[in-house]
Amino acid sequence: MPGSSAGSIVRVSGPTVVAEGLEGVALNEVVRVGRDGLLGEVIRIRGGQATLQVYEETAGLVLGEPVDATGEPLAVELGPGLLGQVVDGIERPLDALAARTGDFIVRGVMHPALDRQRRWHFVPRVDPGDQLQGGAVAGVVQETASLVHRILVPPGLSGRVRAVTPGDATVTDPILVLEDGRTLSMLQRWPVRQRRPFLRRLTPERPFLTGQRVLDVFFPIAAGGTAIVPGGFGTGKTVLEQTLAKFAAADVIVYVGCGERGNEMTDVLAEFPRLKDPRTGSPLMERTVLVVNTSNMPVAAREASIYTGITLAEYFRDMSYQVALMVDSTSRWAEALREISARLSEMPGEEGYPTYLATRLGQFYERAGRVVPLSGDGEGAVTVTGAVSPPGGDFSEPVTQASLRVAGALWALTTDLAHRRHFPAIDWTQSFTLYADRLAAWFEHEVGEEWASLRQEAMRLLERERELQEIVQLVGLEAMQDQERIVLEAARLLREGFLRQNAFHDVDAACLPAKSLAMLRTILHFARRAAASIERGAPLRAILAAGLDEPLLRLGEVPGERMEAAGAALVAEIDDTLARVGGR
C-alpha cells in the first residue's frame, strides 16, 4: 500500500485493537489489521501506540500480526449506481459480497461500493473553457427511470475545462480533463465523519409530508428537519420508519438499519422493488439506498453506519434533491460507541455512555438541514428521523435525553397504545414539534384555510377527553353527564378513526393532507353537532345507537380522491340522523 507504515498488534479486546509502530498515522485514518487485512480506523494515538476500532470480527487475531496504515480517512464512494443498493456500515455492497463469498458474511473481503464495469450514459453540462468550482454540476446521468444523477465536481476542486468526454463511461473513466491536466471521473470519495459543504442554510418552512395523519396534522416536521422516535420494544418504530421510507414525500431515501434485525431488512428488500413510488410510479427501491449493519454484524461498523448513511444523503442533497434519512436505531449506534469507549477505558458518563455522547449526537443531527448546495442551483434538504430504543421504554435514559435536546420533534411511542394495538402508537400528549408555527402558513395555503383551527379543535377535544377520563376512572362512566359522555364518544372516534392508521391496509397506509383535513372536518362536525343535540335535549342513547360511529371509524379506508365527496355525504347524513333522533 502506498505510504503505508507497518505496525504490529500488541493488544486485542473485542472490537478494539492496539498497535505499535504506526508512526505518522493520523486520527481516523483507515488501517488494515492482521494477516486477513481487516478494515479498521484509528481512534486514539497515545505514546507510540494507536488504538483501532476494527470493522470486522476480531476473533482469531494473534499478537504480533501486522497492521498497515492506508493514509486515508474512512470514506465512502459516491457516484451513479448507489440507488437500489444495499451496503453494510462501511459501504461494502452486500450483493457483491454474497456473490463472492456466499450466504454468510466472511471477513477480510473488500469490494468497492460502485460497480466498476457498469457503463452510464454521461451527458455533460459544461463545455471546454468553462471555469468550474467544487459542487458544480459537470453533467448528468439518468440513473433510474425517475432520477437524474447530477455529476458534481468534488468540493474543493476547481479549474478550467480543457476537454469533455460525453457518452457511455464507467464510474472510473475520465469524463472531464482540466487545463492543469487533472481528470475527473463520475466517482468521488468523501470522508464520512466530515459534513459535506454547501453554500448556505435555509430556514425550513415546507413540511416533510409523511403520509401519517397523526404526524402531518399534529406533529409535522419541516423538510430538512429532525425528529426522534423513541419507544420500547414492539411499539412500532421500525414499522413507522419503513412506512415513512415508503410514503414520505422525498426524492431519495437513505435507510440505515443500525444494529437491528436481519429479517426486517429482508422485508424491505422484498417489498420495495414491488411497491411503486406514489409520485413517480417507479419501483420504490429505485429511490432507496439501504445501509445495513444488523445486530450480529460487527459493532464498530455499526458505529460507522450512521455516518455512511448521512454522507450518502448529503451527496444527493448536493444534487438539489429532497432526501430523507431514517436511522433504526440510534440507540444501537450509541451502544456501539459505549462499547468502544469502554474498551478504551475512558471515563464513563451516565449509564456507561461516554461523556461525548451528546456532542456526537448533536453533530450528527446538525447534518440535517435545508440548504442551497455549492452548485447554487435550487435547494436540497436532508430530513432525519431517528428511532431510539430506551431500555425498559423509559425515556429518562441518556440517549433519549441527549437526542431530545437536539431534535426538532418528538414522536413518542408508548407501550400502552401498542398493547391495545392503537397504531401508530404515537402518544399525542407527550409528542411535540417545534416546526408547527413555521409550517402553519404552508398548510393553510396549500391544503385548506381551516387547517389550523381544526387542528386546534381536535387537540382540545383530546385534551378534554383526558381530563374527563380521569374522572371516569373514579366514578365510572354511568355517573357522567350526557354532555360529557358525548365528548368522550367524539374523542374516541377521533382516536380510532383518525389518529389510528393501519400501515398494512392498502388504502389507509398513506394519507395525503387533503384527505386528513376532510376526515378531521367530518369527525369534528359530528362532535359539534352531537354535542349541540344533547344540549337541545336529544337522548344520548339514541345518538350512540344511530350507527354514525361505524362510517366515521372507516373513513381511513376511503381512497383519497373520493374523500371530499364521502366526507360531504357523511356530514349530510350526520345532520339528518341527528335531526331525526330528537332534541329541538
Partner: protein, 492 residues
C-alpha cells in the same frame, strides 16, 4: 477438542472465572486452551483478551482449587468448534458438545466454529410458513412462522415448559417434511430438563431431537457455549440437510447471568443492573441465528425461554430479548392464578411476523381482522375491569358490562383452552363465537364482507355455549409453583 498444543505457560493470577497468563506472544483471540492442574486434571478455557502483558482466559469449568502458579496452560491454536453430523439426532451431549449418553463421539461431517457468522441479509428469505401450534392465543393472535425467533417470557413457577413442550409436539404434525428439534438446557434443574425429555419421548420426537444439557449444577461459564453449540447444530441440520429445525433454549436468564459473571470478573463498567453493556450485541449473536436462506430447503426457528426476574418485563434480560426477537409470548401470573392454561397475556404478547404467515392462502382470510377485533375488545375489557375495581360494577353501563363479560370469556374460553389442541379453524371459530356477543356494527375492525361471511347467525347475546374444555386446568399441580411438580404427567 484436540490436544495438539503449541505452548504451555503457567498462570499468574485468577479472579472468579478468569485466569491471567503472562508473557503470551502468539495466542489467538477466542482460541481454546487446556488448563492442566497439578493433580493431573484438566479444565477448558477460552482466550477472551490479549495484551502485551497478559492473556485473559475465561475458564469454562470451576476455578476453585486452581493454583495459578501450578496450573499449566496449553494453547490449542483452535477456535471453539463443534463436530457436527446428521447422526447427532437422537443423541445427548453436554453443554460443550461432548457425548453424555455413553455412546461414542459422532463421526463428524463437518467441524464448525460455534460462534457462527452472520447471514448476509440479501440471502435471507422472508419467513412466511405458518406453524400451527394448536394454541389459540398463539395461532390466532400471535402466529408463529418458520424461521422466526419467538421467546416465551415466563416467571418463576409459570408453566413455560408445558407450553414449550406442547409447541414442540404440535409444530411437526402438519407437514411431512424433515423436522428436527434441538434442545439446549442452560442451567436448569434436572427435573425440568427431565420433563422436556419425557415430553419429546412421549410425542415420538426423540429420535429427531438433539439434546445439549448444561444443568443447574454444571459449570456456569460453560453456559456461554451451550446455546452456541445448539445453534451450530441447528444451522447444520437446516442449511446442509434441509431440515426444519425448532430450537428450544431454556433458560436464557441463566445464560445472561453467566455473561454477567464474566463481565464483573473483568471489572468492566457494568450496565443496567450489573449486566454488561454489550449484552444486547451478545444476545443478538444468538437470536439472529434464526431464519431461512434463499435456495436452501431448511429453516431455523427459535423458541427461547426466559424467566423474568420478579415478573418484571423491563428487566434487562426480557427487555433486550424483546428488542432483538420477532415478538414475545408473555405468561401471566394473574391468569395462572385463575387456573387457566396456557396463561398467556395476549396484550403484551406479539408476533411481528404474523402478517407474513396468515391470510387467505395460509390460514384464512378473516384471520387478521378477527385478531384485531379480539384485541380491541379485550384491551377495552381490561380497562373496564380496572375501572370496575375502583367504582364497582354498579357504576358500569351496559356497554361496559358487555366488554367486561367479553374479557372474562375471552380469557376462559379463547386463551384458557386447557391442553386440548385446536386447529386454526377451531381457533377462529371460538373467536367468532365470542364476538357474537356484540352486534355486527360494533365489529369495526372487521370488513363488512367478512362479517357477513363468517359471523355466526343468531342472537347477539353474551351467553354463548361454554367451551367443553374451556376452563380445563392445565396438567400438573400448581401447589408450590415449582416447575418440577408437573413433570410430564400427560405423557403417561
Amino acid at each position: 477438542m484436540d490436544l495438539v498444543t503449541r505452548l504451555a505457560r503457567s498462570a499468574t493470577a485468577i479472579a472468579g472465572p478468569l485466569l491471567f497468563v503472562e508473557g503470551v506472544r502468539s495466542a489467538r483471540l477466542g482460541e481454546m486452551v487446556w488448563i492442566r492442574l497439578d493433580a493431573g486434571e484438566s479444565r477448558r478455557g477460552q482466550v477472551i483478551e490479549l495484551s502485551e502483558t497478559h492473556a485473559v482466559i475465561q475458564v469454562l469449568e470451576e476455578t476453585r482449587g486452581i493454583r495459578p502458579a501450578r496450573a499449566e496452560v496449553a494453547f490449542t491454536g483452535r477456535m471453539a468448534t463443534l463436530p457436527v453430523a446428521r447422526q447427532m439426532l437422537g443423541r445427548t451431549f453436554n453443554g460443550t458438545g461432548e457425548p453424555l449418553d455413553g455412546l461414542p463421539p459422532v463421526v463428524p461431517e463437518a467441524v464448525l466454529p460455534i460462534a457462527g457468522s452472520a447471514i448476509n441479509i440479501v440471502r435471507r428469505e422472508r419467513p412466511s410458513e405458518f406453524i400451527e401450534t394448536g394454541v389459540s392465543a398463539i395461532d390466532g393472535l400471535n402466529t408463529l412462522v418458520r424461521g422466526q425467533k419467538l421467546p416465551i417470557f415466563s416467571g418463576a413457577g409459570l408453566p413455560a415448559h408445558a407450553l414449550a413442550a406442547q409447541i414442540v409436539r404440535e409444530a411437526r404434525v402438519r407437514t411431512g417434511e424433515p423436522f428436527a428439534v434441538v434442545f439446549a438446557a442452560i442451567g436448569i434443574p434436572f427435573r425440568e430438563a427431565d420433563y422436556y425429555l419425557h415430553a419429546f419421548e412421549g410425542s415420538g420426537a426423540q429420535e429427531r431431537t438433539v439434546v445439549f444439557l448444561n444443568l443447574a449444577d454444571d459449570p456456569t461459564i460453560e453456559r456461554l457455549m451451550t446455546p452456541r453449540c445448539a445453534l451450530t447444530t441447528a444451522e447444520f441440520l437446516a442449511f446442509t440437510h434441509g431440515m426444519h429445525v425448532l430450537v428450544v433454549l431454556t433458560d436464557m436468564t441463566n445464560y445472561c447471568e453467566a455473561l454477567r459473571e464474566v463481565a464483573l470478573a473483568r471489572e468492566e463498567i457494568p450496565g443496567r443492573r450489573g449486566y454488561p453493556g454489550y449484552m444486547y450485541t451478545d444476545l443478538a449473536s444468538l437470536y439472529e441465528r434464526a431464519g431461512k436462506i434463499r435456495g436452501r430447503a431448511g429453516s431455523v426457528t427459535q423458541l427461547p425461554i426466559l424467566s423474568m426476574p420478579d415478573d418484571d418485563i423491563t428487566h434487562p434480560i426480557p427487555d433486550l430479548t424483546g428488542y432483538i426477537t420477532e415478538g414475545q409470548i408473555v405468561l401471566s401470573r394473574a391468569l395462572e392464578q385463575k387456573r387457566l392454561f396456557p396463561p398467556i397475556d395476549v396484550l403484551p404478547s406479539l408476533s411481528r411476523l404474523m402478517n407474513l404467515g396468515i391470510g387467505g392462502e395460509r390460514t384464512r382470510e378473516d384471520h387478521r381482522a378477527v385478531a384485531d377485533q379480539l384485541y380491541a375488545f379485550y384491551a377495552r375489557g381490561r380497562d373496564v375491569r380496572r375501572m370496575a375495581a375502583i367504582v364497582g360494577e354498579a357504576g358500569l353501563g351496559d356497554d361496559e358490562r358487555a366488554l367486561l363479560a367479553f374479557a372474562d370469556r375471552f380469557e376462559a374460553e379463547f386463551v384458557g383452552q386447557g391442553d386440548a389442541r385446536r386447529s386454526i379453524e377451531e381457533t377462529l371459530e371460538v373467536g367468532w363465537r365470542l364476538l357474537g356477543a356484540f352486534p355486527p356494527e360494533a365489529l369495526t375492525r372487521i370488513g363488512r364482507a367478512l362479517i357477513e361471511r363468517y359471523r355466526p347467525q343468531g342472537e347477539t347475546d353474551g351467553a354463548g355455549a361454554v367451551d367443553a374444555d374451556g376452563a380445563a386446568r392445565h396438567p400438573g399441580a400448581p401447589a408450590g409453583g415449582a416447575a418440577g411438580g408437573r413433570a410430564a404427567p400427560e405423557q403417561a
